[in-house]
C-alpha cells in the first residue's frame, strides 16, 4: 500500500501567524482530501483536491499530483484552528475508495 507522510508532526503557533502543512505520498493517489479533526474526534472535510489549488477563507490547499505532494496553508491562524490535520488519499488504479491517512499534524494556536 501507499505511504503517507505528514510534516511537521507538531506545530505551535501564536494567534495571527501563518503556517504550511505538507503531505507526501509514496505513489500516485486519487481522491486526495484534507481533514481537520476537532478535540471531540469529528473529522471535518476541508478540501477535496486531487490536483491544483483551492481556497476557502483563510485556508487554501495545493496538490502537485506529478510530484506526489500536497500543501495546506493556514493564514491568520485562530485558536479555533487547533486540532489535528490529516491528509488522505486512495491509490491510483486501486479498487474501492479506501483512504490511506497520514499520521497527522497536531496544531496548537495560542492566544
Amino acid at each position: 500500500g501507499i505511504q503517507v507522510e505528514q510534516s511537521p508532526p507538531d506545530l505551535i503557533l501564536q494567534e495571527g501567524a501563518n503556517s504550511t502543512l505538507r503531505c507526501n505520498f509514496s505513489d500516485s493517489v486519487n481522491n486526495l482530501q484534507w481533514f481537520h479533526q476537532n478535540p471531540w474526534g469529528q473529522l471535518i472535510n476541508l478540501f477535496y483536491i486531487p490536483s491544483g489549488t483551492k481556497q476557502n477563507g483563510r485556508l487554501s490547499a495545493t496538490t502537485v499530483a506529478t510530484e506526489r505532494y500536497s500543501l495546506l496553508y493556514i493564514s491568520s491562524s485562530q485558536t479555533t484552528d487547533s486540532g489535528v490535520y490529516f491528509c488522505a488519499g486512495h491509490p491510483s488504479g486501486g479498487a474501492g475508495n479506501m483512504l490511506t491517512f497520514g499520521g497527522g499534524t497536531r496544531l496548537m494556536v495560542k492566544p
Binding site: W40, G96, F101, G104
Partner: protein
C-alpha cells in the same frame, strides 16, 4: 440535511465481550466505510460496503465483521474484544463505489469511542 450518524457515541466493554456499532449514511449515499483510529494515530481502513456487498477489507482479524442493510445503514461487529481494540471507530459514507467514478468525497460521522477494560 442530516450527516453521517453513528451510535453509540461512547461505550465501555470488558475483554472477551462483543460490540456492535451502527452507522447511517448521508441520504443518497450507497457506500459506507469503517475506520479505526487508535489514540495518536491516523484512521485505518477496516471495511467498505456498497450496495450491501463487501467491496474492500483492511488488515484486520476475522473478529471484525460488518454488514450493510437495504437502507444502506451499516453495522460493525467486533467479537472477543481485546484491550487493543480500544479506539475511535469512524464511519464514512460516499456516493460512488470507487474514486474513479468521479469526485468521491468521503464524509465522516462523529465516531463511536470504544474503551475495552
Amino acid at each position: 440535511d442530516a450527516g453521517v450518524t453513528q451510535s453509540p457515541t461512547h461505550l465501555i466493554k470488558t475483554r472477551g465481550q462483543h460490540v456492535t456499532l451502527r452507522c447511517s449514511p448521508i441520504s443518497g449515499h450507497k457506500s459506507v466505510s469503517w475506520y479505526q483510529q487508535v489514540l495518536g494515530q491516523g484512521p485505518q481502513f477496516i471495511f467498505q460496503y456498497y450496495e450491501k456487498e463487501e467491496r474492500g477489507r483492511g488488515n484486520f482479524p476475522d473478529r471484525f465483521s460488518a454488514r450493510q442493510f437495504p437502507n444502506y445503514s451499516s453495522e460493525l461487529n467486533v467479537n472477543a474484544l481485546l484491550l487493543g481494540d480500544s479506539a475511535l471507530y469512524l464511519c464514512a459514507s460516499s456516493f460512488y463505489r470507487t474514486s474513479r467514478s468521479g469526485a468521491n468525497v468521503l464524509t465522516f460521522g462523529a465516531g463511536s469511542r470504544l474503551t475495552v477494560l
